[in-house]
């Protein structure tokens, strides 16, 4: 099956997907609650979309297509309220965070659905190890060519999104010293990493996708676990590096940071992306995962080191006018505060210290998720 044509969509429209944790309020471990949650949520109209994920202790929600921060945030609030309400009925806590700090992957159950069973059969323990929680942001693009150009222009900003969203310092019971340990689980997959450097959709479809398909390794775009990938059936590019933040407010702010950034990049002020930009890509990504906002990244063109925090703050100043036209000032302000005050990973480490237990940290994450809940 050849790669489908890239469906044109309105530039800079937004959609957000969040993978969330289902936690037992009895012992704060992950709990196999998604069948029960989905059952209960079916009874009322859900203010968005909700689907199962690969293991039964995860649930994925997504928003409609939005053009501005206010609408997006308000839908995310309604989605959160519905989830919290359903969770309360079932003794289930819903929360963000890229990993659950002390769950054991071997305890997880694969959700009963053919695709999940098939993935689990292929990847073995990697599938259960993949009980990690990410935020995916879709940005609409007019054409496939636009999508690929934008995708590669974003390469140097990937560390920003990793560092700002990072919320997975603990994994399988231990402090990993990373800010985002979740991405290490993603890197284990053979088709993870970055998209090949092709800027025209036709070339991508013919010179890459078709050839990969001929090898029999992939059947659709779904089989690629890239940091950003084009999604032709939606007419979007999908940023996949973010950990699910602890609050939907941060999720909305990150989405609108991306939106304003894309708006700026589409102006063509920055030099065009080049294959050589990717020389520093993996190093910068590691720095962001390991050290978060304190990480030191290397500018892909000037080859100068700069801390991720400073680079985020400088970028915010650059894109502020674009954010204003998009109605995303509040989001920009939120991101600036996050860059200055620290990400969710540092919040979680503080809670771990303060409460003295991993359970206390999960409890804090649950309370943070429901803050401001109706």
């Amino acid at each position: 099956m050849p790669l489908e044509t890239f469906k044109s969509s309105r530039p800079l429209t937004l959609g957000v997907e969040l993978e969330l944790q289902l936690v037992s309020l009895s012992d704060f471990d992950l709990v196999e609650a998604s069948p029960d949650m989905l059952h209960l949520l079916e009874r009322k109209r859900f203010p968005g979309n909700v689907v199962p994920e690969i293991t039964e202790s995860m649930i994925e929600v997504s928003t409609d297509v939005h053009t501005n921060h206010g609408e997006l945030l308000s839908q995310l609030h309604r989605i959160r309220d519905s989830l919290v309400q359903a969770g309360d009925m079932l003794n289930v806590g819903v929360c963000g965070g890229g990993t659950h700090p002390f769950q054991r992957w071997s305890e997880r159950k694969i959700f009963s659905k053919p695709r999940f069973k098939q993935v689990s059969g292929l990847y073995g323990y990697l599938a259960k190890q993949f009980t990690v929680f990410g935020q995916h942001i879709h940005v609409g693009c007019a054409s496939g060519d636009d999508a690929l150009t934008l995708l590669h222009s974003l390469n140097r900003y990937i560390p920003h999104f990793i560092a700002l969203s990072a919320s997975s310092p603990y994994f399988q019971g231990s402090d990993t010293l990373f800010n985002s340990a979740r991405l290490n689980s993603v890197f284990a997959f053979p088709l993870s990493g970055r998209a090949p450097f092709l800027l025209r959709w036709e070339d991508f479809a013919r010179d890459y996708f078709e050839r990969m398909e001929d090898t029999g390794i992939v059947k659709s775009m779904k089989d690629f676990y890239w940091d950003i990938r084009p999604k032709p059936e939606y007419g979007t590019i999908e940023l996949r590096v973010c950990d699910t933040p602890l609050t939907v407010d941060r999720a909305a702010a990150l989405a609108c940071y991306l939106q304003a950034l894309c708006c700026y990049l589409m102006e063509g002020i920055e030099p065009a992306p080049a294959e050589d930009d990717y020389l520093v890509y993996n190093y910068n990504r590691f720095q962001a995962c390991r050290f978060g906002l304190d990480g030191a990244m290397v500018h892909p063109k000037r080859h100068e080191p700069v801390t991720i925090r400073d680079d985020v703050l400088a970028t915010l100043r650059l894109i502020e006018p674009y954010a204003e036209t998009l109605g995303a000032q509040a989001a920009i302000e939120h991101v600036r505060r996050a860059a200055q005050e620290g990400n969710d990973a540092s919040f979680l480490r503080r809670e771990r210290q303060g409460t003295g237990s991993p359970e206390g940290m999960v409890d804090a994450a649950i309370r943070r998720f429901r803050e401001g809940c109706a």
Partner: protein, 394 residues
């Protein structure tokens, strides 16, 4: 020669435990029966009353160890109960109250129908309210099950056990009053027991986390710390002639709600819990005597039938409104089947008040034996049918 005989007698318990464990593993693997069912059956067959191998349970040194084993299970049980859920979803609490009342009424009616006197019938009905937390928790852990049937069975079992203990104590008070005429003696006995045992547990619930925090061992696994504390607590309670299981339950409750200061503990207390469970259920099986069972079997079956129907009707009635499906409501009710008299017998220590439950409530022995086998099986069956047990990965 006599010396040699004493040595043999000391081998009886280790031998029974070894046999029960081997049988438990075999039967669990071949027939899929819950291990605790096999342990209880082994104890029953080897007991003083049947094969005559084991000494009378109440007279043996195994009593303290059984109490500790029970204490560990009940501590873990208390630690898993989230009282805030009952506030967030009041339908769960309503379901528990109605289910308890219905069970009491149905069992009382059935017992009277069989010609039991009012007071014993009420005692029996009070005991029938409780679903044994120990059996349910063991099956849940053995199956590694999680989901609504599991959660609800655990929480409803906590609720109905507390209600049963409360109702039972009131009736025992009445009973004692009728026999002795002393109202004060009747009431004070059970109140002192409840207050002191509970108070001990609560004190531990505050002190142990505080101590752990001082020691700075919070980051590490707290399994051993809790196990040591439970063993200590149960020994104190037994030495004071109080109820070790009640103290352990209260300890678990309090420790849980001060959870933020606690580290993780292994399910079942790891290998230690598994080991003591073998002993506990052999011990439980050994308390039963066949002649009593035979005499009460007809009425026992009627009572169990009434109990199952009452629990099912009441739990199913609240299933949908409390946020689950009719089917899961039904399975929750089935999962609540286990009934263990020993919990309450230990809890209220009626024998010291001159009431021997097993003697005076003949159907109880039969019901206990029947449910020692069938109860865990029904619970296991319910969580499996609900799709909540972990897939087998051998």
């Amino acid at each position: 020669m006599p010396e040699f005989l004493t040595d043999i007698a000391e081998l009886v318990w280790p031998f029974s435990i070894a046999l029960a464990w081997v049988l438990g593993e075999l039967v669990h693997r071949i027939a899929g029966l819950p291990r605790i069912t096999v342990y209880a059956l082994t104890g029953f067959v080897l007991s003083h009353s049947q094969a005559g191998l084991l000494p009378l349970p109440g007279e043996s040194a195994a009593m303290l160890i059984a109490n500790i084993a029970f204490g560990l299970i009940l501590f873990e049980f208390g630690y898993r109960i989230n009282l805030r859920w009952l506030r967030a979803n009041p339908w769960i609490a309503a379901s528990g109250l109605v289910e308890s009342a219905a069970t009491f009424a149905a069992v009382f009616a059935a017992a009277e129908l069989f010609g039991m006197a009012a007071l014993p019938a009420m005692l029996l009905a009070a005991l029938a309210i409780a679903s044994s937390p120990a059996e349910i928790l063991r099956v849940v852990n053995e199956q590694r099950s999680s989901g609504q049937v599991t959660e609800r069975a655990l929480h409803l079992s906590a609720l109905n056990s507390i209600i049963a203990a409360f109702v039972f104590n009131i009736i025992v008070g009445l009973w004692t009053f009728q026999h002795s005429g002393s109202l004060l003696g009747a009431v004070s006995n059970s109140i002192v027991l409840l207050a002191v045992s509970g108070g001990l547990g609560v004190a531990f619930g505050f002190a142990v986390p505080g101590l752990l925090r001082r020691l700075g061992t919070l980051g590490r696994d707290a399994t051993i710390a809790f196990a040591v504390a439970v063993i200590f607590l149960c020994s104190i309670a037994q030495a004071l002639n109080m109820s070790p299981v009640l103290a352990a339950l209260a300890f678990g409750f309090v420790a849980r709600h001060r959870r933020v200061t606690l580290g993780q503990a292994q399910r079942n207390f790891g290998a230690l819990g598994d080991l003591l469970t073998v002993l506990l259920f052999v011990f439980i099986g050994a308390t039963l005597a066949w002649p009593r069972i035979a005499s009460g079997i007809g009425i026992a079956l009627a009572i169990l039938g009434a109990r199952l129907v009452a629990k099912t009707a009441a739990v199913v009635m609240f299933a949908r409104v409390s946020g689950t499906t009719w089917r899961k409501g039904l399975l929750t009710a089935v999962a609540l089947s286990p009934m263990s008299v020993l919990v309450l017998a230990m809890l209220v220590r009626t024998r010291e008040m001159g009431i021997d439950l097993m003697d005076q409530l003949a159907p109880l022995a039969a019901a206990t034996l029947f449910l020692a086998i069938a109860g865990p099986l029904l619970t296991q069956w319910a969580v499996k049918l609900a799709g909540e047990s972990a897939e087998k990965e051998e």
